[in-house]
Every structure is written in structure tokens, then in C-alpha cells.
Amino acid sequence: MRPLDIAYMGNMLPVIASYIPLTLFMAVVGMVLALVLAAVFAVVRVLRVPIIDRVVAVFISFFRGTPLLVQLFLFYYGLPQLFPSLTSLDGVTAAIIGLTLHFAAYMAESIRGAILGVDRSQWEAASSIGMTQGQVLRRIILPQAARVAAPTLMNYFIDMIKSTSLAFTLGVTEMMGAAQKEAAGSFLYLEAFLVVALFYWAIVEILSVGQRWIERHLGRAVAR
């Protein structure tokens, strides 16, 4: 057994750290887009919008039923064969699209559950004063559903951050890709991957603290 090359790991820190912005960029953009898409999907499903509801159901089923890695390969390598104009699709964009669709499918289901969990009397009271269905959803139902879904959605965000590491399979040099390159040069695989693991861990830990703070904050305003 050889000792860990601590000095090497120390030198690696700034290298890997310089890729944190790209990792967070993919995760944040993916999360924002996924949230919007998931809310739309959830509303379509709750309101049982004819036809679209079926399309969304199949979409969700597909993206929950296949591995994220397979989806990323489909977008990055597969789609350009179908639409030649997509050959310019870069790895980062493909990764963001894949992460967005994949996580939107999961998040739509939790948001839908949270919407259905809001008491029926809230719908009735809002309708009774003459609000349109859209107003009822936007002003009364979704804010209450968001509070219920927030912890789950936060967990998906954490999951999404970790999943950005798959972008390296699309040739993107993000944190994982950088570690891989380092290791390929030095052969110090253990050190390189340990450093990148520690980075992911630290980011997730920081977010977990933020998550607890947000939950306490939301919980303070109202309970149902």
C-alpha cells in the first residue's frame, strides 16, 4: 500500500475548483428550466387537459423509465443524425437539455402530488370569489403545493448537481472531466477522484445547510 500523495491533492484543489462554476451553471440552468417544465407538466396532468395530458404522461414515463446516461447519449450523439442542423449541439447544451428533461419528469410527479394534496376547499373558496382556474392555480394552489414539494425538489437539485458529472461522457470538461484528465496524466487516480468526490460532497453539504434554513423559513410563515 502506498501513502496518499497529499501534496499532489493540494495542487489539484485550485484546478478542480476552477470548474465549479461550470458544474453549477449546468445544474442551476437545468434546475430552473426543469422547474418551469415540471410545473407545466404537473398542471396539465392535474387539469387533465385533453390529449396533451396523454402526451405528457408518455413523456414522463419515458424519461423516468430510461437511464440518464442513455438519454444524454441520445441527445448528443443520436439527435444530430436525425436532424443534421443539430451537429453544432455542444456538450454543455446537450447535457443541460438532458438534465432538464430527465429531472422535469421526476419533479412533475412530485409537484402533481403536492397539488393534489392541497385541500379541495382551497379550490372551492378561490373559485367561489370568481377567480379563473389559472388564477386559482397561480395564487392559491401552487404556492401551497410549492411549500409541500420544496424539500423533495431540493433533493432533486442536489441529485442534479451530482448528475452533471455525466456531462464528461459528452466531452465536456467539468469537474469530473478535469479530474479524469489530471489522472490520465499523473496516473494518480485515487488522489484525483478523491479530490473531485470531496468537492461534490462539500457542495452538497453546503446546500443541505441552505435547505434546512429554507425549510425552517417556509415553515415559519404558514402551515396548513
Partner: protein
């Protein structure tokens, strides 16, 4: 006889159960009508149909220049009707994500399109009227049952509806809160607000109502001024019911 609200042949079915079996109703402007009757008789359903929380299967609802054929009401008809009728729920049903003040403002800003400041000023007037000026920033979860129902009534008052509908507004309350809620409704009744109130508080109904309607089995069995219904009911079913609750 001028009806402010006129209902003709209202029918509502749930599956193969006919819950409202041809209800006719005429309310004069400023008339206060109490509906009594055994439970499961369709009283709530009648009120809910008048606010389109339940969709009637047949009949007509006329309110001012609004004339709705129940069988083919458009969503515009439904919204128009809801803007002219307000509903007070048995379980209050306050918006859980809004403060008391916001609950009262919501219909004014969102539905009536009032500017925030104007709606806020109106909400403050109503908070004073319902005796909750100091609780405007409280969320429903932090209010007592009686306070929640007073906000529920305030929310309905804010809309200045042609018709206020109360569905057993005190039935879910602990006895200690019933008095303050009845006092508030009495105050609204004294202002000659046209209202339809379903209640089990017979004494209260007798005091505030111009007319009592006794319903059973989805039909209006008998109606008349309180002294007639409570003193000299014609129908045996009415008398039997009053003996039971009395």
C-alpha cells in the same frame, strides 16, 4: 313581485341520486331567507349550485340581467354568477397561504382589478367591522375558529355581492365562538343584505330571517314568515322536523 334572484326548476343529480328535485325560488332585494331541514336533504347543494361550485343539471338562474340556463352555462356565465354571489363555508376555507387581510383583499385585487392600495384600505375597513383590526397580518393557522369564520365572512363581504350564501356558518365552531359569528351575521342582515343562510340555529333563523324555507328530499316542502313556520307549520314533515330539533 320583483325578484332580485330567481331560480326555476333547479335540478342536481349525483349519479342516479336526484339531490335537488326542481327548486323554485324568488328572493326580493334585501330579503333574508333561512333554509332549514334534515341533513342530506340538498341544502348545501342548493347553495353550491347558486355559486356553481356544483354544476346544476337543469333549471334557470336569473340574477339581475344575468340569465343562466343551467344545462348550457358557459364558463363566462359561471364567472359572472360567482362575481355576484359570495359564499361563506362551513369550514371557513380561508386561503392558507394568505394573511387575514390578504384573504379579504384577494377578490378585490385579482377579480375586481382594484389597485392594491384601494383594496388594502377596504380590507382595513372590513377588518374593523369584523373586529379583527389587530389580526390582519395573522395567517389562518394562527386564528381561532371564530376569528377564521369572521375573516371568511369578511372575505365574502368585500365582494359586495348581490347575494350572500352562508352554508351552516357556525356548525364547525366550538360553542364558545358561535356567538361572535352570529352577531356578525346579524349585523350584515341588519344592513339588508340579500342572503340565503342554511342553519341549524333555529332561534337565530327566527330572529334575522324574513322568510324560512323548509327543505326535505331535494324539494322545498314549505316556506313562510318565521312566525308561521315556527308557530303554525302546515306540513306534517315540517312539524316533525321542528319537534325533533326543537
Amino acid at each position: 313581485m320583483s325578484c332580485e334572484i330567481r331560480v326555476d326548476g333547479l335540478v342536481k343529480r349525483f349519479g342516479d341520486q336526484t339531490v335537488l328535485d326542481g327548486i323554485d325560488l324568488c328572493l326580493q332585494p334585501g330579503e333574508r331567507v333561512a333554509i332549514i331541514g334534515p341533513s342530506g336533504t340538498g341544502k348545501s347543494t342548493l347553495l353550491r349550485c347558486l355559486n356553481y361550485l356544483d354544476r346544476p343539471d337543469a333549471g334557470h338562474i336569473r340574477l339581475g340581467d344575468l340569465d343562466i340556463d343551467a344545462a348550457k352555462a358557459s364558463s363566462a356565465d359561471v364567472l359572472a354568477l360567482r362575481r355576484r354571489t359570495s359564499f361563506v363555508f362551513q369550514n371557513y376555507a380561508l386561503f392558507a397561504n394568505k394573511t387575514a387581510r390578504e384573504n379579504i383583499m384577494e377578490g378585490l385585487t385579482v377579480v375586481r382589478g382594484w389597485p392594491k392600495a384601494k383594496a388594502g384600505a377596504r380590507a382595513d375597513e372590513i377588518l374593523a367591522q369584523i373586529g379583527l383590526s389587530d389580526r390582519g397580518d395573522s395567517y389562518p393557522v394562527n386564528l381561532s375558529g371564530g376569528q377564521q369564520q369572521r375573516v371568511g365572512i369578511g372575505r365574502a363581504m368585500a365582494l359586495h355581492a348581490d347575494l350572500m350564501l352562508f352554508d351552516e356558518p357556525t356548525s364547525a365552531l366550538d360553542p364558545e365562538w358561535v356567538g361572535e359569528v352570529l352577531d356578525l351575521i346579524r349585523q350584515i342582515a341588519d344592513g339588508r343584505q340579500t342572503m340565503l343562510i342554511v342553519t341549524h340555529e333555529m332561534q337565530f333563523a327566527r330572529e334575522i330571517a324574513d322568510r324560512i324555507i323548509f327543505m326535505e328530499g331535494g324539494r322545498i316542502v314549505e316556506q313562510g314568515p318565521p312566525e308561521q313556520i315556527f308557530g303554525a307549520a302546515q306540513d306534517e314533515r315540517t312539524r316533525a322536523f321542528l319537534r325533533r330539533v326543537g
